[in-house]
């Protein structure tokens, strides 16, 4: 990536106007992209804060849920095999939606319940209360996990988007705009030089013309002095014109 080149274009006034327009376009583009990058960074920071909060909460909830599992096992004995045997369909399902932040599409996961609780009667004879509490705790944990998953995917996507946008901003700022400016400067210098050449050429021609004129005047003087020159007829002088028939 050399930093000294410019766009190859024939330097003319129109080229200059075109270049000026392009420069303006590049600058506007750069500002817009900077604004987008700022908005993305703002969203990014917010998501980061939410992730930290959710992760702390997650630690607490998982601890609580694991402990309620121990409590339920204490009351109801070992029910794990019964529960595992009875698994057939998922009760909590996730659907993915798209959320738009400053033009970037972020995936968002939403959970929804489907079907009834097939373990409603588990622990009917022992430990039913603990099992119900356990179910609630783990349901909360699952919801938190879904939220955390959404947040983390958005985090990663936003990170990518911010990197790309910043790269573009920097490219425009450090490559495109200087290149256009250099081209403009080149065009202007060329145009100036051409003007100077023109001027110089004009001056020279004028000098030459002056010399020629002086020479021809001198000639005329000499010839007039010798009497060889016939003056053309002066229409303004009041003399009778031979060619006119009727007066």
């Amino acid at each position: 990536m050399s930093g000294k080149d410019r766009i190859e274009i024939f330097p003319s006034r129109m080229a200059q106007t075109i270049m000026k327009a392009r420069l303006k376009g590049a600058q506007t583009g750069r500002n817009l992209l900077k604004k987008k990058s700022d908005a993305l960074t703002l969203g990014f920071r917010q998501i980061l804060k939410k992730i930290i909060e959710t992760k702390m909460l997650m630690g607490e909830v998982m601890r609580e849920a694991a402990f309620s599992l121990a409590e339920a096992k204490f009351m109801a004995g070992d029910f794990s095999t019964t529960i595992i045997q009875n698994v057939n369909k998922a009760q909590v399902k996730i659907c993915a939606k798209k959320d738009n932040v400053a033009g970037v599409a972020l995936p968002v996961f939403e959970h929804y319940h489907e079907g009834t609780d097939s373990y409603e009667l588990a622990g009917l004879d022992r430990g039913g209360e603990q099992l119900a509490k356990l179910k609630r705790n783990y349901a909360k944990a699952v919801e938190l996990l879904v939220e955390l998953a959404s947040l983390q995917t958005s985090f990663v996507t936003l990170d990518e988007a911010i990197k790309i946008t910043n790269r573009r901003v920097n490219a425009i700022e450090h490559v495109i705009i200087p290149r256009i400016e250099r081209t403009l400067a080149y065009i202007i210098t060329e145009l100036d030089e051409r003007e100077r050449e023109e001027f110089y050429r004009l001056k020279k021609i004028q000098e030459k013309k002056k010399i020629l004129k002086e020479k021809s005047e001198k000639d005329l003087e000499q010839r007039r002095a010798a009497g060889e020159v016939m003056e053309p007829a002066n229409l303004l002088a009041e003399e009778k014109d031979k060619d006119l028939l009727f007066e």
């Binding site: 409590e71 009351m75 095999t81 019964t82 045997q85 009667l121 603990q130």
Partner: protein
């Protein structure tokens, strides 16, 4: 009425009763529990358990020590002791032991039926079955295609057959919810066990019948409590109550109509034995739950069983107390390993 049990009990069962009393003497005491509660890691727990009757039962375990390993090893020890008692017993003590294992068998059968219905591999389920509930036809379960086949070919030979006949006819086996089936089987089992103890008469009836009555009533209360807010209808609920308890028939009828905890409490207030239990229940979190209170009462009754001699109740009481001790140790171990010591003292103290 005492029919002179002290004359001929020791001939057949004296050795075993002595043995079981010795085992009972080695249950963990309050001091042991205090030591366990003060442990910081599971390794400390293992060291403390080495000084008790458990000895080096965890000696062959590789690191890291988990709570489930402790649980499995303790259960193996209990099974070894139980099998020893059972193998050395004579009639009618052996029938008594068979009755005791029926409750584990019911759990295993339900597990196997479930697995067979869902076409899961039998080997995996066999590993998860409770070892005390082993019966010889267990591996044959996967031969049966439908539940009625299962019943005809497999279950007819087991001691559980009469309980199935009580519950239902063959063709409703797969429609019933598994939990309802389990509870119905357990109800038949309790009633049969109660009849057996009562017909045996003597000190055994005096000790075992109150225990079994309490078990029946406790099941009625707990089922009622846990069925609030579920789809279980009142009639279905009533079919699950065992009828061998004090609540039969009036209390059970009232319980079937109960809609919430207070109505249940009012039913319990009619019975002098259960009123103080319900009063001891705290409200919401922080206090004792009804199940805690019932567990404590069960432990009390089991400990009292050892005050009389020449009856079979000592074996039942010992097994139940040992199980409670296992649950206590697992609870304390879980609290330690999860570093959640707030409720570490919620175990049920035995001695």
């Amino acid at each position: 009425m005492l029919e002179g049990a002290e004359f001929y009990f020791n001939v057949d069962h004296g050795y075993l009763e002595g043995l079981v009393r010795g085992c009972k003497a080695s249950l963990l005491t309050q001091q042991d529990y205090i030591n366990l509660v003060q442990c910081e890691t599971l390794e400390d727990v293992k060291i403390h358990l080495q000084t008790t009757d458990y000895g080096n039962f965890l000696a062959n375990q590789t690191n890291p020590l988990t709570v489930s390993k402790i649980d499995t090893e303790m259960r193996k020890k209990l099974c070894r002791e139980f099998e020893y008692f059972r193998n050395h017993s004579l009639e009618p003590l052996s029938t008594f032991f068979t009755y005791m294992t029926c409750s584990y068998m019911i759990d295993n059968v339900i597990l196997l039926m479930n697995g067979a219905l869902q076409k899961k591999s039998v080997k995996e389920i066999l590993v998860k079955c409770h070892p005390l509930g082993r019966f010889t036809e267990m591996e044959a379960v996967n031969i049966a295609e439908t539940p009625s086949d299962l019943f005809n070919a497999v279950l007819v030979e087991t001691p559980l057959a009469p309980f199935f006949q009580d519950c239902m006819s063959e063709n409703t086996l797969d429609e019933l919810n598994i939990e309802l089936l389990r509870n119905k089987l357990y109800k038949s089992y309790l009633e049969a066990f109660y009849k057996f103890c009562k017909s045996h008469g003597d000190v055994t009836a005096e000790i075992m019948c109150p225990i079994l009555e309490f078990e029946a009533d406790r099941r009625a209360f707990i089922i009622t409590l846990n069925s609030f807010g579920t789809e279980l209808s009142k009639d279905d609920r009533e079919t699950l109550y065992p009828t061998c308890g004090k609540l039969y028939p009036e209390g059970l009828r009232l319980l079937a109509q109960a809609e919430d905890f207070d109505q249940m409490r009012r039913v319990a207030d009619h019975y002098g034995v259960y009123k103080p239990l319900f009063d001891a229940v705290g409200d919401g979190s922080g206090g004792k739950t009804l199940e805690d209170v019932f567990y404590e009462r069960e432990v009390q009754m089991n400990v009292l069983a050892f005050n009389r001699q020449f009856h079979y109740g000592v074996f039942y009481a010992y097994t139940k107390l040992k199980e409670q001790e296992m649950r206590n140790i697992v609870w304390i171990a879980e609290c330690i390993s999860q570093r959640h010591r707030a409720k570490i003292n919620s175990y049920i103290p035995i001695l």
